[in-house]
């Protein structure tokens, strides 16, 4: 049997031009009165994919999910599931199930009746229902809680009941609306991995809505980052982090430093950027930009080296003063105020227990980075 990691490594239908999309949003727009929740959005999701919709609240990600579930109809555009246009199909006839943010467990039913609810609607024979419910209870490790009512369960247990109920019908697609939002941090981290295992085990397509970038990065095969009803970027977690295509995405996922300036010179492989205050950096060519164009170099804090002396072997070194130091245990975050006034965030892994010559407040310091350590953004 292949390990989880290798399955996920081989899984990349979005790179295959012949792969058939499973869920397809075609120019979908959704308006609530004057407010445009989703604006002319197109998106494809593949079978067995773990797809995350990531964005701040009000970005339209939940509306997208609710349109897929059938609770909202698109104002224009169409949604296809496995080639079938979903327009006009009411929620109870769609082969998708949703796990609600509030869990929406039926308070007057026991755990097993909650899980059996969807199966009974299907008209499944009673012995089959009992078998499936037992299977689901085992899957979420709640066998001994079958007869309890939702209010007699902890938050984590309720979450599992909601999950079991939503997968009990073996839907084509499972929609998860902030599935871990109500759990505390530790439980959330554990559950993330459980959800991933479950998705592999059942071979379902998962579409998860979240505002938590860490959650999306951990679980998803691909992430769609949304803002104001539009998709800003759809990519794997690594691509989203290392190669954001816009300032919004770079800012939204993780921490980032932005060097703004104009293109001073362009050679075959590198671009020289002149900052507003005169500092110059040299970076790898990435985006099309002619001389004099406004440009931004975005670089992650962990790709910036901080040292007390100017490193000899680097093209990009800027001098400044330590403005703030935050020791987080596994790493230390420095805020360096450059001589031109910009504050740079840099983080250093605390690989050894004792650091010789530690930098502290008001020390002079150099920040340095390689020309390929960040990305050039034009929008």
């Amino acid at each position: 049997m292949k390990s989880l990691g290798s399955i996920r490594r081989d899984f990349a239908p979005w790179n295959d031009p012949n792969a058939k999309p499973y869920i397809q949003f075609d120019n979908v727009t959704k308006k609530f009165g004057d407010f445009t929740a989703v604006n002319n959005l197109s998106l494809t999701i593949f079978e067995r994919e773990f797809f995350a919709l990531l964005g701040a609240s009000g970005c339209g990600k939940s509306t997208l999910l609710r349109m897929l579930a059938g609770f909202e109809e698109p104002t224009s555009g169409r949604i296809l599931l496995d080639g079938q246009d979903l327009r006009g199909i009411p929620p109870h006839r769609r082969p998708v199930n949703m796990m609600f943010q509030s869990y929406a467990l039926f308070p007057h039913m026991t755990v097993e009746n909650n899980i059996a609810f969807g199966l009974k609607q299907e008209g499944m024979p009673k012995p089959d229902i009992e078998k499936r419910v037992a299977e689901m209870l085992k899957l979420v490790k709640l066998e001994q809680f079958a007869k309890r009512k939702p209010h007699q369960l902890s938050g984590g247990q309720r979450q599992r009941v909601a999950l079991a109920r939503s997968v009990a019908k073996r839907p084509k697609v499972l929609l998860l609306d902030e599935p871990l939002g109500a759990l505390d941090k530790k439980l959330r981290e554990e559950t993330q991995f459980e959800l991933m295992d479950l998705q592999q085990e059942l071979g379902l397509t998962f579409v998860v809505v979240t505002h938590d970038q860490e959650e999306a990065m951990t679980m998803a095969d691909r992430i769609a980052i949304m803002d104001k009803g539009e998709v800003m970027q759809v990519a794997t977690p690594a691509e989203v982090y290392e190669a954001p295509t816009s300032r919004f995405v770079a800012h939204f996922v993780g921490n980032v430093n932005m060097f703004e300036g104009k293109v001073a010179e362009r050679t075959a492989n590198t671009t020289r950027i002149k900052g507003a205050t005169g500092a110059e950096i040299v970076v790898d060519n990435a985006a099309e930009s002619s001389k004099g164009a406004d440009i931004v170099f975005a670089i992650r804090p962990e790709k910036i080296k901080v040292s007390s002396k100017r490193p000899a072997d680097t093209v990009n070194a800027l001098e400044g003063e330590v403005y703030d130091v935050a020791y987080l245990g596994d790493m230390t975050v420095y805020h360096i105020k450059l001589d031109d006034g910009q504050i740079v965030r840099a983080s250093a892994l605390n690989a050894s227990r004792i650091t010789e010559d530690p930098l502290t407040w008001n020390d002079r310091a150099w920040v340095s980075f390689r020309p390929d350590a960040g990305v050039v953004l034009t929008r």
Partner: protein
């Protein structure tokens, strides 16, 4: 009131406080609990005992019109002597005359039918209100309560104007040629049902509304998502979850409807036999205070005993659910 109780109960350091402070908060807590008990004692139990005492006496031409019973005027010994002479003649009398039994039964039946009708009319109203946009809900709530601002008696009288043979309803139906002869509604049970449903509708709608309004709509969405059509979702999710409201509303309508006097008297005519009317007649026409008190005591038992049994069964069921 509850503030004090909560803060005192939530204080984790209660044990570390000085003894006197603890005694103080305990006293305040107890005082808070005592207030409703004192209220019930003075405004329910004491009047009930007075009524019960009258029901044990005999009618007399006097002021008040009954013989004294269990009086302290002869001292403690007189009181105990009175005890030995106690008799339940009035209660026996109630069982001997079929009129009272019939009146009780008719009242309960009329009240039960009216309650069901009120529920049927009130549920859609409450449901519509609870699902209305949050901005219009206060207005709708206001509209439900609005009739209370007019005298109950006047509103019931108004129904006479509507229901009588030459009334508004008949005029309308005749002019529309739906009927050829005026309908006889006034002075029938139908008129009583209309009157009770109309008068008690707010008591049904308000508890229903409050239980429907706090229901999480995502439960309905979850039911639909799991393959349940909207109508089935209503019966499987919405209705069971609104049961506390249904029960509260039904009790609020049923209990006063059983003892209702004004509506059967004004709309039901002279031949309707309801216990409230019987009570009125005993009290004001016959000036028989002892018998009417006995009627009242029986009525109270008739209403409270089933409710208490029901509540006990509910409490037990809830305990077993855990």
């Amino acid at each position: 009131m509850s503030n004090i109780a909560i803060s005192a109960a939530a204080a984790p350091s209660a044990a570390s406080k000085p003894f006197l402070t603890r005694l103080g908060t305990g006293f305040v807590n107890r005082l808070v609990i005592i207030v409703p008990y004192v209220w019930l004692l003075f405004f329910f139990l004491v009047p009930f005992i007075i009524v019960f005492k009258i029901s044990l006496s005999q009618t007399a031409i006097a002021m008040p019109p009954y013989t004294p019973v269990l009086d302290f005027s002869d001292g403690i010994s007189g009181f105990f002597a009175g005890f030995r002479e106690l008799n339940f003649d009035n209660y026996v009398w109630l069982t001997q005359d079929a009129l009272y039994f019939k009146a009780y039964v008719t009242s309960v039946v009329i009240a039960a039918i009216s309650t069901v009708l009120t529920l049927i009319v009130g549920y859609p109203i409450a449901y519509g209100m609870a699902r209305a946009p949050a901005t219009v809900r206060p207005t709708l709530l206001m509209l439900v309560i609005l009739p209370f601002w007019t005298s109950f008696l006047i509103r019931v009288y108004a129904w006479i104007g509507i229901l009588k043979p030459e009334g508004l309803l008949n005029q309308l139906l005749l002019s529309l040629h739906i009927i050829n002869q005026p309908l006889v509604i006034l002075n029938t049970y139908t008129a009583i049902f209309i009157g009770i449903v109309y008068s008690y509708l707010p008591f049904m709608v308000l508890p229903l509304y409050s239980s429907l309004e706090k229901m999480d709509y995502s439960l309905i969405e979850a039911a639909k998502d799991l393959g349940c059509p909207p109508t089935a979702a209503f019966w499987k999710i919405t209705f069971p979850l609104s049961l506390p409201g249904v029960i509260a509303g039904c009790l609020l309508v049923f209990i006063p409807a059983v003892g209702e006097f004004v509506i059967p008297d004004l709309l039901g005519g002279s031949q309707t036999l309801m216990i409230g009317k019987t009570l009125w007649n005993e009290f004001f026409a016959n000036r028989d205070w002892p018998v009417s008190s006995a009627v009242a005591v029986i009525l109270l038992l008739l209403l409270t005993v089933p409710i208490m049994l029901f509540q006990q069964a509910q409490a037990k069921a809830q305990e077993q659910g855990k």
